[in-house]
């Protein structure tokens, strides 16, 4: 039963691994199909680009989760409630910047490479996490809180034993959304020299080369789908319903 649930994500991970290992063969095969000739001898192997991509996603994801949880918890607590609107405004302002534009603007300030991309990605990933953390924590049935308080639980205990477990699936859903967005958005990081699978996509688009595009897009999509499935599984595990 458990095995069956893990089957889809397992299969996708296997597919992804195959693609990473046999990237050259894949490329040759695809060029045959599209009957185009390769224009660039790839200097960076797919695996390296993949690792860069993964690193970017993981690092920005971890920062975003930590920051997002902190902000979400803060603004849903009694102390931070008054800052809620301000935070919301700042974050929605950040969201108004298209990801590509955000990257373009961060670079002059931070410089080339992954730092700029990371900042932009963190800003992007933040919103769903903050939003869901807030919604999850404040959405807990007030009767439960009332009962917990009435039983003599302290605030900390109410938070860890009642609020957090009850909000967990909403928070995790936020993290899942942001992770999927992030995997996809990290593709653009190539535009500022941060590497990752976006290098193939951006070059492919510029060079009108479907093989390059697919070589970049397929692993990215697989990553996104896998992340989605795995996170859903975690959500299922951690939520009571």
């Amino acid at each position: 039963m458990k095995v069956r649930r893990m089957l889809p994500s397992g299969a996708l991970i296997a597919l992804l691994s195959l693609m990473l290992i046999y990237s050259r063969e894949f490329e040759i095969f695809m060029y045959d199909i599209f009957e185009t000739k390769t224009q660039t001898g790839s200097r960076t192997p797919l695996l390296v680009l993949f690792t860069e991509h993964l690193k970017m996603v993981v690092v920005s994801g971890v920062i975003a989760v930590a920051l997002g949880l902190a902000i979400g918890i803060f603004i849903s607590s009694g102390y931070g409630r008054e800052y809620r609107d301000a935070f919301e405004e700042i974050i929605s302002l950040g969201q108004a910047f298209p990801s590509a534009a955000l990257l373009a603007l961060v670079v002059p300030v931070v410089g080339y490479g992954s730092e700029g991309a990371l900042i932009a990605l963190v800003i992007y990933a933040l919103m769903p996490i903050v939003y869901n953390t807030y919604a999850g924590l404040t959405g807990v049935d007030p009767d439960c809180i009332e009962a917990a308080r009435g039983m003599g639980m302290e605030d900390i205990r109410i938070f860890t034993k009642i609020r957090l477990p009850l909000a967990a699936n909403v928070i995790l859903a936020g993290i899942r959304t942001s992770l999927v967005i992030n995997i996809s958005a990290a593709t653009l990081a190539a535009a500022v020299g941060a590497g990752g699978l976006g290098v193939l996509v951006v070059n492919g688009v510029k060079a009108f080369d479907p093989v390059l595009i697919l070589e970049g897009a397929i692993p990215v999509s697989l990553m996104a789908v896998i992340a989605d499935l795995v996170m859903k599984e975690i959500e299922r595990k951690l939520s009571y319903s």
Binding site: S92, I183, S184, A191, V201, I213, A217
Partner: protein
């Protein structure tokens, strides 16, 4: 009784003050691409920098004021005055600060943005808390807005680097703006036209829900740029066929961007359509049927009006997404404001990037705000 100070006012006024005192407000560059010397608020704005400092100081003092109404009145006034002073002084001061040379540039530096952001949040906070004082509230906004409009319209900003970029790109600007609007609004409209019936179908036939939603969710996992790129192949092929060619379809240009943006818009709209219909109280539908309304009557008079606020919220999400996504059209020859962004990126000119980004951000905020207001209206109109 001394009240707790207003945290939001206090913190953002302090942040604004810090940015005024510490951050660069402008960059004086010898030419378009070289970095230049940073100018602080006082070096750049002179006496107007002082006004900003005073405004923040006033806000800090008023945030500990005991009378809640008064503290927001004063803060709101100070914030809108600060915004006006900043916006009105930036242009003329830029003309003064231009360094010597054949083609010197003055670029706005982060300090201005941070300061504006702080003032904006303070203004927003005060307005929210000033319930009831309708006219006063709007007066504050009007002052700030009028200052912005005047600064742009009077041409006082013409010595700013971004306006010089605009001068050069003037002939393309309107076209790119139009393309961007077409791409984002057009694709959202197309997505709505396609997704709403599908959402309704998923509602009527719960068995189909998975079959309809899963493919839409799949598009969402494909990185936007890849989708643009992948679409170029079949579209390039289509574009060689007569009718499509006549329609202007081709592997490059607006078509792949338009289609990709439409595909991305499907999920939020379909999902919200489904949720909107599901949300309609079954009792209400039953009552309508029980009164002898036909199927069409129930759909158009009851279900749709009741589901619409939720559907519209989905359209809002799709639109905001499309406005941002349309930037990438600039990369596949689709035009739009993204062309400026990518050209700016390529020419290492952040002012050119900004020339593309600013209208997009404004468009997003305006579109979002407008649609939010509409949703609110729809709800107040009795739907929820």
């Amino acid at each position: 009784m001394v009240r707790k100070p207003e945290g939001t006012l206090l913190i953002f006024a302090a942040a604004g003050l810090a940015s005024t005192l510490l951050l660069d407000f402008a960059q004086a560059k010898p030419n378009r691409i070289l970095s230049g010397v940073g100018l602080g608020a006082f070096e750049f704005l002179g006496i107007y920098g002082g006004i900003l400092v005073i405004a923040f100081a006033v806000i800090i003092v008023s945030s500990v004021q005991s009378d809640v109404k008064r503290r927001h009145l004063i803060s709101g006034m100070a914030a809108s005055a600060g915004i006006a002073a900043l916006l009105l002084s930036v242009g003329p001061m830029a003309s003064k600060a231009l360094p010597p040379g054949t083609s010197p540039r003055i670029s706005i530096a982060p300090g201005v943005y941070v300061t504006l952001l702080c003032l904006y949040i303070i203004l927003g906070t005060s307005m929210r808390r000033l319930k009831g004082h309708r006219y006063l509230k709007y007066a504050f906004v009007m002052v700030a807005a009028a200052a912005a409009v005047f600064a742009v319209a009077s041409g006082s900003l013409s010595d700013l680097s971004i306006m010089k970029e605009y001068q050069v790109k003037r002939s393309q600007f309107a076209g790119n703006l139009k393309t961007h609007l077409f791409l984002s609004f057009g694709s959202t409209l197309a997505a709505a036209v396609i997704a709403m019936p599908f959402g309704y179908l998923a509602y009527k036939k719960p068995g189909l829900e998975g079959k309809i939603m899963t493919p839409m969710a799949f598009f969402e996992t494909i990185p936007s740029l890849s989708l643009f790129g992948i679409l170029m192949v079949p579209l390039g092929y289509l574009g060689s066929i007569g009718i499509f060619k006549a329609m202007g379809v081709s592997g490059i240009g607006w078509a792949p961007a338009f289609i990709a943006l439409t595909l991305y818009g499907l999920l939020p709209i379909a999902r919200n359509t489904l949720a909107g219909f599901k949300n309609v109280d079954t009792g209400v539908v039953e009552a309508a049927e029980g009164m002898g309304m036909g199927k069409g009557g129930v759909l158009w008079k009851i279900e749709l009006p009741l589901a619409f606020p939720v559907i519209f919220a989905g359209i809002r999400v799709a639109l905001v997404q499309a406005i941002g996504g349309a930037v990438l059209a600039g990369l596949v020859g689709g035009g739009g404001l993204g062309s400026f962004v990518f050209l700016g990126l390529a020419e290492a000119s952040s002012d050119l990037v900004l020339l593309g980004v600013m209208p997009i951000v404004l468009m997003t905020l305006l579109g979002d705000g407008l649609m939010k207001a509409v949703v609110k209206r729809l709800e107040i109109g009795g739907a929820i």
